[in-house]
């Protein structure tokens, strides 16, 4: 029983293939809406959490507890004039925010979410290689940032884009190596070890306990991927004004802003799926999505705390850190995992 089959039950009068096509489309649309609402919630949470940390009140004027503040902000961003720089490269300039958005939402449709009472499994896409697919999709997002930086013909944006590239290549390799360790461990227990849902089912113990080094490398990479402080050299506001998004205004800027929070949510969800046994919890597997939500939100709050209490790392130090510390650590993790899996048969 999945959401897809429920929807197909409604649209089955269209025939087999058209019925599935329509229900798949509607399901994806539903996800888009739910994810957008979730993102708005995360931004609201961030603003409230930040205010608490900083001895402030946060949004409290628009609606009860400022709940409508984000809607008001979104309306303001949409209503704002989008100023286009005169010397832009038109196509990449317009496409860049869309790439960020598409990469983000595609990644969310690939993740498994567990099940909910009354609806059944919430997973949209079941793929045997969904792990690879997710990382392929989120690898698109930096492309949007680089395009934005280069196409706006602004020196700050250019430096921001260069920093983004330098940052990305220095954490991608350790990140993928730590993923490899997970696949190794899962392959000893389940057949389709490249599927995220099989990795979740293979976690008799959360992998965070078995691979503490791996979760450190992966979480650090996810912080760097989402690029907030301490790893926000690409858009460092006090040095490069706003980095690659300097020349963006209105809703185009809003998309980059949402992309930042989307990356945080995505990273937290991925960490809880791959390392914290995802939607499996001690009580019930019928409402797995609740467990996933709780785990992801705890990680989101940890991310916010890191964001708000750290200064920015200098780019050359981060590149050093990536190649001299993260990479060896992930190799050590790989070897330890090999010993655990093959030697001890875990």
């Amino acid at each position: 029983m999945t959401l897809l089959s429920t929807l197909y039950g409604i649209f089955s009068f269209l025939g087999h293939y058209p019925g599935y096509a329509v229900s798949y489309f509607i399901e994806a649309l539903l996800y888009l809406i739910v994810i957008s609402l979730l993102l708005i919630f995360v931004i609201y949470l961030f603003r409230k959490f930040m205010a608490r940390l900083q001895l402030r009140l946060g949004p409290n004027r628009v609606g009860k507890f400022g709940l409508l503040q984000l809607i008001a902000d979104a309306l303001k961003l949409i209503g704002k004039e989008s100023i286009l720089p005169k010397e832009r490269d038109d196509l990449p300039y317009r496409v860049a925010p869309m790439i960020v958005m598409i990469g983000l939402f595609l990644a969310f449709t690939i993740l498994p979410y567990g099940s909910l009472i009354g609806i059944g499994s919430l997973t949209v896409t079941n793929s045997a290689v969904s792990l690879l697919l997710v990382f392929a999709v989120i690898a698109i997002m930096p492309l949007g940032e680089v395009l934005a930086g280069i196409s706006s013909h602004n020196k700050y944006a250019l430096i921001g884009a260069l920093r983004s590239i330098a940052k990305d290549i220095s954490f991608e390799v350790p990140m993928m190596l730590s993923i490899l360790a997970i696949v190794m461990m899962a392959s000893a227990r389940v057949p389709e070890s490249l599927s995220i849902s099989s990795i979740v089912s293979a976690q008799f113990l959360p992998y965070a306990i078995l691979q503490p080094l791996g979760v450190f490398v992966f979480f650090t990479s996810m912080v760097a991927r989402a690029s907030y402080t301490p790893f926000d050299m690409g858009e460092s506001d006090s040095e490069l004004v706003s980095g690659f998004s300097t020349e963006y205004t209105g809703m185009r800027f809003g998309i980059f802003y949402i992309g930042l929070f989307g990356s945080i949510l995505l990273g937290s969800t991925l960490v809880s799926l791959l390392y914290l046994s995802g939607y499996n919890g001690p009580l019930s597997t019928e409402a797995g999505v609740v467990w996933l939500f709780i785990k992801a939100m705890v990680l989101v709050l940890i991310s916010f705390t890191v964001w708000l209490s750290m200064p920015r790392i200098r780019i050359d130090k981060f590149v050093n850190f990536g190649w001299k510390y993260l990479l060896p650590i992930s190799f050590v993790n790989l070897i330890l995992t090999g010993i655990l899996t093959l030697g001890l048969g875990w």
Binding site: Q54, T229, D232, S238, E239, S309, R312, R314, K317
Partner: protein, 367 residues
């Protein structure tokens, strides 16, 4: 040298503390040439001072270093009162010393918050400003104004302080040191902060003196020079305090010297808060209607230690009710002039860490 890219930072830039403009030539991320351009906040306060009465000039001095306006007032009055021959009574001197040090604390707190922001730390900024707000509340109680206080006046202070204000200062002094250590630890126990500031922007003491650098920046380079000790004014020869120095000369040293100065300021206030003598709070020669008739002759130069460094005021009088010429030795103006020396061959990110550590306030640099 065609590889150099010219980057124009400011005057509208998030971390240029107002209106500093830096013409920077970069090779990738490395800065090869740097030229500060200033004057975007220039009001020519010196000319304005020539056009108003001696007692009114305080208004322009308030607006120079607007985060430590009491320091500016003390500097001007130190010169003006010598020129006019109107010394303040004992009680006013005590009040001035206390307010001067409170103002110094407030100024250093603003600096610490802004320095954190420059490095990408959002949270300490608010912690600093909450504490500063308590000081500003004391100012509001004593003179009705938060920042541009205009509290000191020629021959005394504008208003007497009440026992309640003394109580509030005491409460502040008893609560603040613990909060200060919290703020200090937020910075000094953060490894990323240390890695961003340690060894960045080393200032050699020889070069510092050559450029006329004074204040916490000079002391962070290991020169124990403080006008409060060298040429005591107000009560500084009667109170006991140390000059904090550091031999390191980098941004981290400037940070720790400023925090140590806050602790010394607390010490100074604690010593004199209970000893404020009774008596008049202004010199009867400078009563309100008489104030604009004060005539000054000759010339005088007085230097004081503001929160940024040695603040000097040079006044020439021609026997009239308005000064003939006023010159202000702005400490930050000199401190900024050493920036090209410090930031050369550093990275853009370090330029921000260096310029943030200078404590730039443009009201005073551009005057």
């Amino acid at each position: 040298m065609s590889d150099l890219m010219q980057l124009n930072m400011g005057p509208q830039h998030p971390s240029m503390h107002g209106v500093l403009r830096l013409k920077v030539k970069v090779e990738g991320e490395i800065i090869r040439e740097i030229e500060p351009v200033i004057g975007y906040l220039h009001r020519n306060a010196e000319k304005l001072c020539e056009m108003t009465y001696y007692c009114d000039n305080l208004v322009y001095f308030d607006r120079m270093d607007y985060v430590a306006s009491m320091n500016m007032e003390a500097g001007y009055l130190e010169a003006a009162e010598k020129l006019l021959g109107i010394p303040p009574p004992e009680r006013a001197v005590y009040i001035r010393t206390i307010m001067n040090e409170l103002s110094r604390i407030a100024s250093h707190l603003v600096w610490a918050g802004a320095f954190g922001l420059d490095l990408g730390m959002l949270t300490p900024f608010f912690y600093c400003f909450v504490e500063r707000e308590k000081i500003l509340r004391i100012f509001t109680e004593s003179c009705g104004s938060r920042q541009e206080t205009n509290y000191f006046s020629i021959g005394g202070v504008y208003q007497d302080i009440t026992p309640e204000i003394v109580d509030h200062i005491k409460t502040f002094l008893s609560e603040f040191p613990r909060k200060l250590e919290d703020i200090y630890n937020l910075f000094a126990k953060n490894d990323v902060f240390l890695s961003r500031t340690r060894g960045i922007g080393y200032l050699d003491p020889e070069i510092a003196i050559q450029y006329g650098v004074t204040g916490p920046m000079l002391r962070a380079s290991g020169v124990p020079y403080d006008v409060r000790k060298a040429e005591p004014y107000l009560l500084y020869d009667k109170v006991d305090f140390d000059i904090p120095i550091s031999k390191k000369g980098d941004s981290l040293a400037r940070f720790s010297v400023r925090f140590e100065e806050i602790r010394q300021s607390i010490r100074i206030i604690k010593q004199i808060i209970d000893k404020i003598p009774e008596g008049p709070f202004f010199n009867p020669k400078a009563k309100k209607p008489m104030m604009i008739r004060l005539r000054g002759d000759g010339e005088v130069y007085a230097r004081t230690e503001s929160s940024k460094g040695e603040f000097g005021v040079y006044i020439v009088g021609d026997g009239g009710v308005k000064p003939y010429r006023v010159h202000v030795r702005s400490p930050t103006f000199k401190n900024l002039s050493v920036l090209p020396e410090l930031a050369k061959n550093q990275m853009i990110a370090d330029l921000i860490a260096i310029s943030g550590s200078i404590d730039l306030v443009f009201g005073e640099i551009d005057r």
